[in-house]
C-alpha cells in the first residue's frame, strides 16, 4: 500500500521505519528516491491531488512485478500543500541483489511520473495553479474524444 500523508513528508521518520523493517529480511540492497520541492519561478510550494483507488491498484501491480524479481517496493506521497525545500515523495526498493534494486527504482520512478494518478499545482501568491506544462497524459488518453 502507498502511504499517503497530508502535507510534507517526515522523511527521516519514514525512511528510518522502512530501514529498520528491512534489516532482518536479508535484503542486501536498499535504494531510495526522495523528491523535494525546488524553489523556482517564485513559487511558495506545490500542492497535490491524489486519486487513491487507482493509485493503490497501480502500486499493487508494481509490487507484483517487484516480487517476481525477489524485491519489495515501498512508497509514500503527500496530499495537499508542500512548501519549498520540503519533500513530497519517497520510494524505496529492497532486494537481495544490487542490480535488481538499481534497475527497479529507475523503472518505478519513471512509470510513477507517467502514470500515477496524482495532480500537481504550483502555489503562487496563495493560488493553486495546475502544472499542466509539466504533466503527462496517462497512456490511453483521449478516447472520449475519438468518436
Amino acid at each position: 500500500m502507498v502511504e499517503l500523508y497530508t502535507g510534507d513528508l517526515e522523511i527521516e521518520k519514514i525512511c528510518g521505519k522502512w530501514y529498520k523493517w528491512s534489516l532482518d529480511k536479508n535484503f542486501g540492497a536498499m535504494v531510495s528516491f526522495i523528491g523535494t520541492v525546488r524553489e523556482e519561478k517564485g513559487i511558495e510550494g506545490l500542492s497535490f491531488d491524489v486519486y487513491e483507488p487507482i493509485l493503490q491498484e497501480w502500486f499493487a501491480s508494481w509490487q507484483k512485478k517487484a516480487k517476481e524479481r525477489g524485491a519489495v517496493i515501498k512508497m509514500a506521497h503527500s496530499i495537499g500543500n508542500v512548501a519549498v525545500h520540503s519533500s513530497s515523495f519517497i520510494a524505496a526498493v529492497f532486494s537481495p541483489k544490487r542490480r535488481v534494486a538499481l534497475e527497479l527504482i529507475d523503472e518505478f520512478v519513471e512509470d510513477f511520473k507517467a502514470n500515477a494518478p496524482i495532480w500537481k499545482y504550483d502555489l503562487k501568491n496563495g493560488e493553486r495553479i495546475y502544472a499542466r506544462d509539466r504533466s503527462q497524459k496517462i497512456s490511453g488518453s483521449g478516447i472520449l474524444n475519438s468518436l
Partner: protein
C-alpha cells in the same frame, strides 16, 4: 444511470448520465464545450480500472472517472 467523476484540476462536480455503453458517455460529454479540451487529454477509468476502448457496456451504478495529465513526485 452511471456516475461520471472529474478528477484533479478539471474542477467539475460529478454528474449522472443515462448510458448503456462508454460510447454513450462520450457522446454526452462531447455536448459540453467546457469539457472539449479535457476530453482530448484525459484517460478514462470504469469502476477504477483504466480502459483503452469505448466498446464497454455499462450498467446502472457504474462509475466513470476522467483522469487529466498527471505529475506526481
Amino acid at each position: 444511470m452511471v456516475r461520471v467523476e472529474f478528477l484533479g484540476p478539471i474542477g467539475k462536480a460529478p454528474i449522472e448520465v443515462e448510458a448503456k455503453s462508454l460510447k454513450d458517455v462520450a457522446k454526452e460529454l462531447q455536448k459540453d464545450p467546457e469539457l472539449k479540451k479535457w476530453l482530448e487529454e484525459c484517460a478514462v477509468a470504469v469502476n477504477d480500472k483504466l480502459v483503452n476502448t469505448l466498446d464497454i457496456e455499462l450498467k446502472s451504478g457504474d462509475k466513470i472517472s476522467l483522469l487529466p495529465p498527471v505529475c506526481g513526485g
